[in-house]
Symmetry: C2
Subunit: 527 residues, 2 copies
C-alpha cells in the first residue's frame, strides 16, 4: 500500500515571485485548471493582502468547478500589537473566501526582533491568535513556519515554540520552510521526524533551491514522515526557485513507495509542464528532469547505439510514462546512426559507406561550421540531403528582391516594402508587398508571387519565428540564426537560415519552409 502524499502547488503565489514571471488573471485561471486536471491536492493561488489584484482572481475562480484541488489563499500572521480582526491582511484573506488558508509566521528569533521589531512572546501570540481566528471561521489551516531551519540553527527551542503556538491555535498542518534554501538534507530529515513526533499533526515541507537541493530536501523530509510537499510545478520562484514538483512527483511515485497524483495522470506530467511554461511565456529549460525537451534526448553515438539495443541502457525510466518522448540528436559526435535514419527516409538504399552519405556528412559539417544547427530544423536538413542526392527540383528562381524601410513610416502599420521578382518554369512574376518590418514584407511578397503558380501554398503559414544572435560581440554585425516553424494544419516543420544579415537569414529559412511544403505535395502526388 503506497503512502499518500499531498502535493501543494504555489506556482501562482511563490512562483510569481520569480524573475520575469507575471501572471494575468486569465493566466492564473488557466493554470488552476491545468493543475487540477493533473490531480494536485492544493493550489495556493495568491496573497490578497499584498496584491489587491488577487481578489479579482478569487472572485472569478469560484465559477470554476475543480475536480480534486482545494484552493488556498496565503497571508501572514496579524501585525504586532493589534487585534486579529483589525488586521487588513487578515480581512483580505477572509474576503478571498477559499476553503483553505495558509498563514506564515516567523520561526527565526532574529526575524522577530530585527525585521518585525517585536518581542518573541508577542510573535507567539500573533501565530496562535491568527491560526485560531481562521479555524473559528471554519477554514482548513496550513501553517507555514518561515525560516524554520535557519531559525532552529539560531535558537532551537524558540523555533519549536513557534510550531507549538500554531498547534495550539488548531493548525491542520505544520509546514517546515527552508525559506532561504540553504539547509542540508540531514537537518531537514531530523527536524521533520522530531516535529511529527512532538505534535502529532500533519507535517509539510517547503523548500527553496538556492543550493540545488530543493528536490532532495523535499524527498528526505517525506522519507522522515512529512505528508505534504509544497513547491511550484516547474520550479518557478524567488531567486533560484522553489522545489520543482514536476521532478518530485515522479521521483516519489515512480521510484519511491508513495502516491502523489492518480496513477492515470502521470502521462500528463510533460504536457502540463509545457502548457504552464507557455502560459508564463518562459522557455522550459530543455534539461528539466522528466519533462524537458532534452530529458530523453541522446546525442552520444554509443548512447544512441545502446538505446537502440535496449532502451533501459541509457534511460532511467520509459519516457512515455511521464508523457515525454525519446529523441536522437544530430551532430558530428552522434555518429551516423541518427543521420542514417533521416537519409534512409529519403533514399532507403544508402548505407553508411555510400559516397553520397559521405558527401552529405561533409556538407553538414561545413554548414555547422557557418553556424547552422539542424537539431531543431530537420526539414532544412532533409532538403540538403535531397540537394546532395540530386533529388531536389527548385520550385522557383529568385531574380532579385529589394526591401526598403524608413522612419518616419509612410503609415503607422507598415514600415517596410519588399519588391520581388521570381521565375517559375521561365515565367516571370514581379510583385511587391508591405509589412511590419522588412522580414514580414518579404514573407508577404514571396507568398504573393508564388501562390500564382502553387495555389496549394495558401494552406501553409508560419507559426513561429525565432532569432538568435550567435556572436554578440560583433553587435549589430553579428551572425544571426533564424528558425522558422511552419504548419499546414496537418504537419509542423522547422527550417533554419544563417547570415550576418537578418533579412538574408530569414530569407533562407523562408525559402526552405516553402520548398519543404512544395516537395511534400510533389511526393504525395507521386504516391
Amino acid at each position: 500500500m503506497k503512502r499518500q502524499i499531498e502535493i501543494f502547488d504555489s506556482t501562482l503565489r511563490d512562483g510569481a515571485q520569480g524573475e520575469g514571471i507575471a501572471f494575468s488573471v486569465e493566466d492564473k485561471l488557466s493554470i488552476v485548471k491545468a493543475l487540477d486536471s493533473l490531480g494536485i491536492a492544493y493550489i495556493e493561488a495568491g496573497n490578497p493582502g499584498s496584491n489587491p489584484k488577487d481578489l479579482e482572481f478569487f472572485e472569478r475562480v469560484k465559477h470554476i468547478r475543480l475536480q480534486s484541488a482545494k484552493l488556498c489563499a496565503f497571508g501572514s500572521t496579524r501585525r504586532r500589537d493589534i487585534e486579529v480582526e483589525a488586521d487588513a491582511n487578515v480581512v483580505s484573506l477572509l474576503k478571498a473566501d477559499t476553503p483553505v488558508v495558509t498563514i506564515f509566521g516567523k520561526s527565526w528569533d532574529m526575524h522577530v526582533t530585527h525585521i518585525l521589531n517585536t518581542t518573541l512572546e508577542e510573535n507567539l501570540k500573533m501565530i496562535t491568535e491568527t491560526v485560531r481566528f481562521f479555524k473559528q471561521k471554519g477554514k482548513e489551516l496550513i501553517y507555514d513556519a518561515e525560516h524554520f531551519f535557519d531559525g532552529y540553527k539560531a535558537n532551537p527551542a524558540y523555533a519549536f515554540e513557534t510550531l507549538k503556538a500554531a498547534a495550539e491555535g488548531g493548525a491542520d498542518c505544520l509546514c517546515l520552510c527552508d525559506t532561504n534554501g540553504g539547509a542540508h538534507p540531514a537537518l531537514i530529515a531530523e527536524l521533520t521526524t522530531r516535529a511529527a513526533e512532538d505534535f502529532g499533526i500533519k507535517i509539510g515541507i517547503h523548500c527553496h533551491n538556492d543550493t540545488g537541493l530543493a528536490v532532495a530536501n523535499s524527498m528526505f523530509s517525506v522519507d522522515a514522515g512529512a505528508l505534504q510537499v509544497q513547491g511550484t510545478y516547474i520550479g518557478f520562484g524567488e531567486r533560484c526557485g522553489n522545489a520543482n514538483l514536476s521532478t518530485i512527483i515522479p521521483n516519489l511515485q515512480l521510484k519511491g513507495d508513495y502516491l502523489c497524483i492518480p496513477e492515470d495522470r502521470l502521462s500528463l506530467l510533460t504536457p502540463i509542464a509545457r502548457q504552464i511554461a507557455e502560459i508564463a511565456n518562459i522557455n522550459l529549460p530543455s534539461g528539466e528532469p522528466y519533462v524537458g525537451m532534452s530529458a530523453f534526448a541522446h546525442k552520444g553515438g554509443m548512447h544512441i547505439d545502446g538505446v537502440n539495443k535496449v532502451s533501459a541502457s541509457f534511460e532511467h525510466i520509459d519516457p512515455e510514462t511521464v508523457g515525454n518522448e525519446r529523441r536522437f540528436l544530430m551532430s558530428e559526435v552522434s555518429g551516423r546512426t541518427t543521420l542514417m535514419s533521416i537519409i534512409n527516409k529519403i533514399d532507403p538504399t544508402l548505407t553508411k559507406d555510400s559516397p553520397q552519405t559521405k558527401a552529405i556528412m561533409e556538407k553538414l559539417k561545413a554548414m555547422e561550421h557557418k553556424g547552422y544547427q539542424f537539431e531543431a530544423a530537420q526539414s532544412s536538413f532533409e532538403l540538403i540531403i535531397r540537394k546532395e542526392l540530386g533529388l531536389y527540383k527548385p520550385f522557383f528562381e529568385l531574380e532579385q528582391y529589394k526591401i526598403t524601410g524608413e522612419q518616419p513610416a509612410l503609415n503607422n502599420m507598415e514600415s517596410a516594402t519588399a519588391v520581388i521578382k521570381i521565375f517559375v518554369d521561365g515565367k516571370e512574376e514581379l510583385t511587391a508587398a508591405q509589412g511590419n518590418g522588412p522580414v514580414h514584407a518579404l514573407d508577404c511578397a514571396l507568398r504573393k508571387a508564388l501562390v500564382v503558380f502553387y495555389p496549394s501554398l495558401s494552406t501553409a503559414h508560419l507559426t513561429d519565428y525565432k532569432v538568435r544572435v550567435l556572436e554578440g560581440k560583433d553587435a549589430t554585425a553579428a551572425t544571426v540564426r533564424v528558425l522558422i516553424e511552419s504548419s499546414d494544419g496537418e504537419d509542423v516543420w522547422t527550417t533554419v537560415g544563417v547570415s550576418s544579415d537578418i533579412i538574408e537569414a530569414s530569407w533562407v529559412a523562408l525559402v526552405d519552409s516553402i520548398e519543404y511544403k512544395l516537395t511534400k505535395i510533389h511526393e504525395e502526388s507521386k504516391e
Copy 2:
C-alpha cells in the same frame, strides 16, 4: 583542517553531449584557461577515439601553460577479443599525450551481454588490460565505472568485480558513475563507503541529473568518503545534464568542511560561469544556484524590506563571496522601493508620493504592457525618468532614415545601405553607410552622422545585441524586443527597444544607448 576534494570538470567531453552544445577548438582552449584560473584539479577535454577533431585540440593545448589543472583524455576499454595495442581508440588516447587518461568500462552485466555482446569474463579482462596498458605508459589513470549503481542493482557481486578488475590493473582512482541519473542518495552513500573500504584506492563520483539529484548525490558520496567529484562546471551534459560543479563547489566549501578550490578563487565562481555560458552561446539559467542572474534577486516586497534591514534575512550567503550580486527587481509586486532607488539616483528630492513618481510609474506600466522589460535595461529606464522629470535634453533630431537591402547583394559583404538625415542644434547632417544587414548599416550611419558633433562618441561601441521574438505565433509580423549592450571601456550599459519592425526596435535601443552615453558625458562635465 578541511578535507581536500579534487574537482574534475568534463564540460568539454561529457558537457559537449548536451543538446545545443558544440565547441570549436578555440572555444575549448578558452574554457581550459577559464577552468584552470579557477583552480580546478582535472579537466577532461575530449574523446579522441570518437571525435577526431579532438586530436587537433590536444595538439594545440600543449602550448598553454596550466597553473593547476591536469588534462585528461577520455576513452573506453579496448574492444572485445583484440589486443590492447591493436585498438584504434586506445591508440588515439595515447596520441592525445595527456598526463591523465580516463577509461570507462561496463559495470552492468546487461550492458556487457546485450550492448557489447561479450562475456562477463572478457569484460573484466578488457578492464584490467586497458588500465594496465596506460599505467605501463606512465599515465595517471582514472577508471570510470559506467552505470555502477544500476549495475549493482542488477548484479551486486559483478559490479564490484569490475571495480576489482580496474584496481588490479593499477587504477589511481575508481570513479562510481550514475550514468542514467536515477540513483538514490542513500545507495550512493552506501556503495561509496563500501568501495573505499574494499579497495583502499581513491574513490570518485560522477552523477547525472535525470532525477534532479546530481548535486545531492555528489555531496552524499563525498560525505561517505569520495575524494573526487566529476561534473561539468555549469551542468551541461546529455539529457538533463551532469552534476553542476558551480553548485557543488560552494556547497562543499562554504557549507561543508571541504576545500575544492583555493579560497581566493571563490569570487571567480560567478564570472567564470558567465564566461563559459558565453563561449558555449547558452543563456545561463537565471535561477542557477550561486551564479545565476536571479540567484540573489529579490522581488517580493517583504523580502526586499527584510534584506534592507538584515541581508541574511533572505540570503543564505553573502552574494559577493561567490562573485555574484544582490539585485532588487522592478515589478508591480515589489512595490516602489526598488524604483525609488533608481529615481533618487537622478533626483534625490523625490518621494514615493511625489506626483512625478506616480507619472513615472504610469509610464513604466504602459511600456511594460507594450512588451518592454527594464529588469535588464536599466539605462533605458533612467532615460525615461529623465524625460518624465524634464531633465532630458535631446542630443539630436531624426529627420528621416531609409534602409535598403537586396539580394543578390551588391558585393559579398555589405547587403544593406542606410541613409540618414539628422539635425543637431539646427545643423543638418545627411550621410549614408553600408553594412551586413540593415541594422548594422543603420548603426554605422547614425554614428557617422553624430560623431561630427560629438567626437567623444567614438569611445563608445556596442558589445552585445540580442533579439527576442515576443509572440512567435504572429511569425514574421511578431513583436520583437531588442537589447543592446554598450561599453566605453569604463562602463557597460544596456538599453531596450520594442516594435513589430526589427529595424525600428533596434533603432530605439540604439538611440537610447547613444543618448545615455551623451547624458553621462554631459553630467560629468557639470561636476
